[in-house]
Amino acid sequence: MQSPEQKLIQIERQEYEDLASQFRPKPKLARNLLWAFVVGGLICTLGQWMVNLMVGRGVSLADASSAASCILIFLAALTTGLGYYNQLGQRAGAGSIVPITGFANAIVASALEFKREGYIFGVGARIFTVAGPTLVFGFVVAVLMGLIKVFLTS
């Protein structure tokens, strides 16, 4: 049970929230979606173009895919270091976070940020500050998928 005082605070806070919410600018959904679609699409198209190019010259699909990923990661790391990727991210949002380039950006940005605290307690300890959750939950999902596969095929 809530005491009357707690209830009063809750009402006051709700009133305040109702007032405050009128003044928060709405996210520009259509523009954000368009940017995310175009930038994300372009990054993936670039990757696909590289794969097609390499396969066309006789590289196996598996090798071409790995090479294309490496090149995209390199480009993302380079543009992060040069200070362009965050500017892209401000506009493209998920469009530049979701592709593999976003993962590279997260790791390189952290590495750059914490380099000044040294290679062990800075770079080493904190390089996965942002990308860490992706790895952890990526592994968790991989294990779950593996288990599902084992049960379905046995």
């Binding site: 929230e17 003044f23 928060r24 990727y85 892209l88 401000q90 950006n105 940005a109 940020e113």
Partner: protein, 336 residues
């Protein structure tokens, strides 16, 4: 029993009001490119200030600002009796390191972005109390040190919310003297911590507006003044969102026709892509120690109420889902 100099609920009025005899501000390139660029004492060429790290750049900026303020009265750091300063970094290291170099007796303050008003209030009280005759009150913030401590690595490609604010790279320092000419500190209102239950760490304006209006209302009631008494009532860093909320709350609280603005809104141009506006200790500190005091010296402003607003959260409490309490302190500065 309330103190002899206490007025009303939360306000103190100074018997022998401390005078602001000198002030200085140093800002970063983005702040210098804003509408007030020429009103600051110096604009840094870049954010690193010729140093190895942003943290060192921040404390050098603060030290430089304090030296400039003292220099205007031909004082050396030894001549100051007390330094009151604070910043946003963990353990307020920027202020600690600046105080180490300056070797002025030092009391470090933390009030998040409300630090400038906090240092002026404490300084004015100590001076009116008769303990010191020459006090420096200062505050600073740096965009990139704050960004890495509170948010993401600076090169991280994330989209900032439109309600988010831009931590100013700026420092401001005020020299208070028991005697001298200049604007004086008439009264100060110490704010309560007010929690409106807001939890969004990228919307500080909403979290602090309640505290700001509470302090303004209390100040006006304690001093028996109406809203239009001051030539300008200026909050520290509510930004566009927070100041819009504050204006509505003025109506609710019956504060009549205040001449109101916000340093976070004023500091940058519309085109500078700063979301809801500026923030950080340096935001109100550099606006006070640049354009605002300049206008007071020129006589354009004669009665100023500065309310610096702070969001009292840490990245840890934010991740733990706790609400963001706000605080606001008010300082009344007037011309003789």
């Amino acid at each position: 029993m309330p103190g002899r100099k206490k007025r009303g609920q939360q306000t103190v009025v100074f018997d022998t009001p401390p005078t602001i005899t000198a002030w200085a501000s140093v800002v970063g390139p983005k702040e210098g490119a804003g509408p007030w660029g020429r009103d600051f004492d110096a604009v840094m060429d870049d954010y690193i200030f010729g140093e190895k790290t942003w943290e060192i750049a921040e404390y050098k900026m603060l030290r430089n600002t304090i030296e400039r303020a003292l220099d205007k009265r031909n004082f050396r750091p030894d001549d100051a009796e007390l330094l009151l300063a604070g910043d946003l970094l963990n353990q307020i290291v920027a202020s600690n390191f600046a105080a180490r170099d300056l070797a002025i007796p030092f009391l470090g303050l933390y009030g998040a972005c409300s630090t400038m008003a906090e240092s002026l209030t404490v300084g004015a009280m100590l001076m009116d109390g008769g303990y010191f005759e020459r006090i420096v009150a200062a505050a600073c913030s740096h965009h990139y040190t704050a960004e890495r401590q509170y948010r993401f690595p600076t090169e991280q490609g994330v989209q900032k919310a439109q309600t988010a604010q831009w931590t100013a790279t700026a420092a401001g320092a005020v020299l208070l003297e028991a005697r001298g000419s200049g604007p004086y500190i008439k009264a100060a209102t110490v704010g309560k911590v007010i929690d409106m239950g807001q939890t969004d760490a990228s919307d500080m304006g909403s979290a602090m507006a309640g505290a700001a209006v509470h302090t303004i209302k209390t100040h006006l009631d304690d001093m028996a003044l109406s809203g239009d008494y001051y030539d300008l009532i200026v909050t520290g860093d509510l930004g566009k969102v927070g100041s819009a909320i504050a204006r509505q709350l003025f109506v609710r609280e019956g504060i009549v026709s205040p001449n109101y603005s916000d340093c976070g809104v004023l500091l940058y141009d519309r085109e500078q892509a700063v979301g809801s506006g500026g923030s950080g200790c340096g935001c109100s500190a550099c606006m006070l120690c640049g354009p605002l005091l300049k206008k007071m010296r020129g006589g354009e402003l004669r009665k100023l109420l500065l309310i610096c607003t702070g969001a009292l959260m840490s990245p840890i409490t934010a991740f733990q889902g706790e609400s963001i309490p706000g605080i606001a302190h008010a300082v009344a500065i007037e011309l003789w």
